[in-house]
């Protein structure tokens, strides 16, 4: 059976050229760049080139880029590093209710260490309010951490405006750009971003590598302590193959930016339109226009996400859901709940995240298969208004709290 991969927001394959290059750095040019000898020297240039290429992708300076093991580490680093280094200045952090758990759980931990955190709400499109942000700022606020684009619903936050507000108040601004990098134009200068997290495997780079941009002059503590790597900012033997791979993924992202994203947007809009035309009782989650090029997220009433995913998988389509059952917790997506969806509806959500190798045929096939699956699951659902006896068995609740 042909398989269609629609879960690029979870992870992407590593670009083949990148993987092949990494092979060389694993087996032949395997030296430790901190070493004096030729095995160390021969990889040092590549590490600094990778740093420059990452910097170029977000308009930073190379010496503002530090390699980490991924997005989660960068997020932990940003929050803990800023919190501990600036606690004499204040103990208040502002973030949102729709952040990735790498931010949310770190904030919750910081609360236990005596910090105070404001979790900004979002509107039904997943957008924060700049007024609410301004209102949340106190003279104890040391950090604003707001994601660039949401991983579940694809909503792109007003980063430049947030940056301006942060700058005006002299507060550090971190953005989790794990989903945005390579998919949205990012300019840390223009947008007044002080810290930014990114992760290689989300844009055809290697897994297990990420980076954090830290604007020069930002007061921050290292979090992973040990050796003097990364100019004392992140200990651990440099993962050179992955660093080289990450640099290459940045080059490719820059090179293919316009073309790749036009391709994704075309497929995305076709899929959204097709679903809306063919399937009743649905809701598009996320902002209708300010959304990631590859993100499609719908809630389908009366059905639950995991059984939808399993059914799609049986047809060769790999997608994801914010559903409880995938994560091992009973709660549905905190993002969808923050956007005002009631639990029933939030449970029945589907995320299709497109990638560069997806095609028109993939979309056509999905539009053929998905309506059948939804119909079948609905026919099994006790929540469905139209039950098999043709009578309204149970009044369906409305999709929204309000």
């Amino acid at each position: 059976m042909k398989r269609i991969y629609f879960d690029h927001a979870a992870t992407t394959p590593t670009d083949k050229t990148i993987a092949n290059t990494m092979l060389e750095y694993m087996t032949t040019k395997f030296g430790n760049p901190s070493s004096v000898h030729s095995f160390g020297r021969e990889v040092r240039k590549e590490v600094s080139e990778a740093r420059e290429n990452i910097a170029a992708l977000i308009n930073a300076n190379a010496n503002e880029i530090f390699f980490t093991s991924g997005g989660s580490e960068s997020d932990n680093f940003a929050l803990k590093g800023i919190a501990f280094a600036n606690k004499n200045k204040g103990n208040h952090i502002i973030t949102t209710q729709i952040e990735h758990h790498a931010i949310l759980h770190t904030c919750q931990w910081l609360e236990k260490q005596g910090f105070e955190v404001t979790y900004l709400p979002v509107d039904e499109d997943g957008m924060i309010s700049l007024d609410e942000l301004k209102a949340a700022i106190t003279d104890k606020t040391i950090l604003i951490s707001i994601m660039f684009a949401n991983n579940e619903v694809g909503t792109i936050e007003p980063i430049k405006e947030i940056g301006a507000i942060a700058k005006e108040h002299g507060i550090y601004f971190h953005t989790d750009a794990v989903q945005a990098v390579a998919n949205v134009e990012i300019d840390v200068q223009d947008m007044n971003i002080d810290l930014l997290s990114l992760s290689g495997h989300k844009f055809y780079g290697p897994k297990g590598i990420g980076a954090i941009y830290i604007r020069r002059g930002v007061k921050i503590q290292a979090v992973q302590l040990g050796g003097a790597q990364e100019r004392n900012m992140r200990a651990g033997t440099e993962n050179v193959p992955a660093i080289v791979g990450l640099g290459m993924s940045a080059v490719i992202a820059k090179r293919d930016f316009v073309e790749k994203n036009a391709h994704l947007v075309a497929l995305r809009d076709k899929l959204i339109k097709g679903i809306q035309e063919q399937i009743p009782d649905i809701k598009l989650n996320g902002h209708p226009t300010k959304r990631l090029p590859g993100n499609v997220n719908f809630s389908f009433r009366y059905i639950e996400g995991e059984s939808l995913l399993l059914s799609l998988d049986m047809k060769g389509i790999a997608a994801s859901s914010g559903s409880a059952c995938t994560s091992g917790s009973l709660d549905p997506s905190h993002v969808l709940l923050a956007m005002g969806l009631i639990h029933e509806i939030a449970h029945g959500s589907l995320r299709i995240s497109l990638g560069r190798d997806n095609t028109e045929e993939d979309i056509a096939y999905t539009l053929e298969v998905l309506p059948q699956i939804i119909a079948r699951l609905r026919s099994m659902s006790p929540l469905c208004a139209e039950n098999s006896l043709g009578v309204t068995a149970k009044e369906c609740k409305t999709c929204y709290k309000k």
């Binding site: 639950e304 409880a324 059952c325 549905p332 006790p382 039950n387 098999s388 068995a393």
Partner: protein, 127 residues
Amino acid sequence: MSTNEYTEKVMDHFSNPRNVGEIADANGVGEVGNAKCGDIMKIYLKVEDNVIKDVKFKTFGCGAAIATSSMVTELVMGKSLDEALEITNQAVAEALGGLPPVKMHCSNLAADAMHEAIKDYMSKQNK
């Protein structure tokens, strides 16, 4: 870990669920779970002479919820009410070759729904 996998039997019951639907003249109906938690199971029974002559289900829920619902209908079909009442959630899970640990609590409620349906039948008889 491989223990997070569904067994083949679960996948079989999920993709070809037995006895889906409703019984128009059911004389026992049971429902458990709530949509908030992501699982609702509804069991319809047609009981004659203390024997389950027909059983159907409707389920809103994950793969495990659907498979356990299907399995419980198979297990009770044609059984006496006493026999049916002895069937536990655990027995349903075992009949499916096991469930991933995370599914044991939240999605393994089909036997409960069936018991509710029997109770519903019995309470109606007592009237």
